[in-house]
């Protein structure tokens, strides 16, 4: 499985999705980083 380049700037991701008509994969995680 391809490694996912998760972003943390959620507001920016949602804005980008709106501008580009894309879906967002929004992951809520408690796993250590």
């Amino acid at each position: 499985m391809t490694t996912i380049a998760w972003r943390r700037d959620v507001d920016a991701v949602l804005s980008e999705a709106k501008a580009k008509g894309r879906h967002v994969l929004l992951d809520f995680s408690a796993a250590p980083t």
Partner: protein, 140 residues
């Protein structure tokens, strides 16, 4: 599959403000939770709890199909639902996808034979699933 999405992650320990704000916004009460959110910010699919990679990919594909269906893009929804069945035939979500593929075809065409054909498809696949029971009412 992941090329279909812009990925964002909130770590509940490291981003407490985001966790509070977005957790409340989307009613998230457990981790891991993955949401598929459309471009308007509307949640279209929810995956709660850990899944192996193959099952997660099947769920993501299902989520895109559900999003298309919710946006009344029925031809796209049918294509995506059938893709779930074809690519992930042994996944937990395959019977659900087969069911909704039939519904999406019906919604796109108003052709009720799509429902009967879906019921017949369940005679050969996923006979023990709840979705087979739901589709059985369409059998001629």
């Amino acid at each position: 599959m992941t090329e279909n999405f812009l990925p964002a992650r909130i770590n509940v320990h490291e981003q407490p403000a985001d966790w509070k704000r977005f957790g409340e916004r989307y009613g998230v009460q457990w981790t891991p939770t993955i949401l598929i959110v459309d471009s308007s910010g509307t949640e279209r699919h929810r995956i709660e709890g850990f899944l192996p990679a193959e099952d997660l990919l099947a769920q993501l594909a299902l989520g895109l199909a559900r999003s298309a269906f919710a946006r009344q893009q029925f031809a796209e929804a049918e294509r995506r639902y059938r893709e779930v069945v074809e690519r992930f035939p042994r996944s937990d979500v395959a019977p659900e996808a087969l069911y909704w593929a039939g519904v999406a075809h019906y919604k796109a065409t108003n052709d009720a034979t799509a429902l009967a054909q879906t019921a017949e498809a369940f005679v050969n696949r996923y006979q023990d699933s709840a979705w087979a029971k739901k589709a059985s009412v369409w059998r001629k």
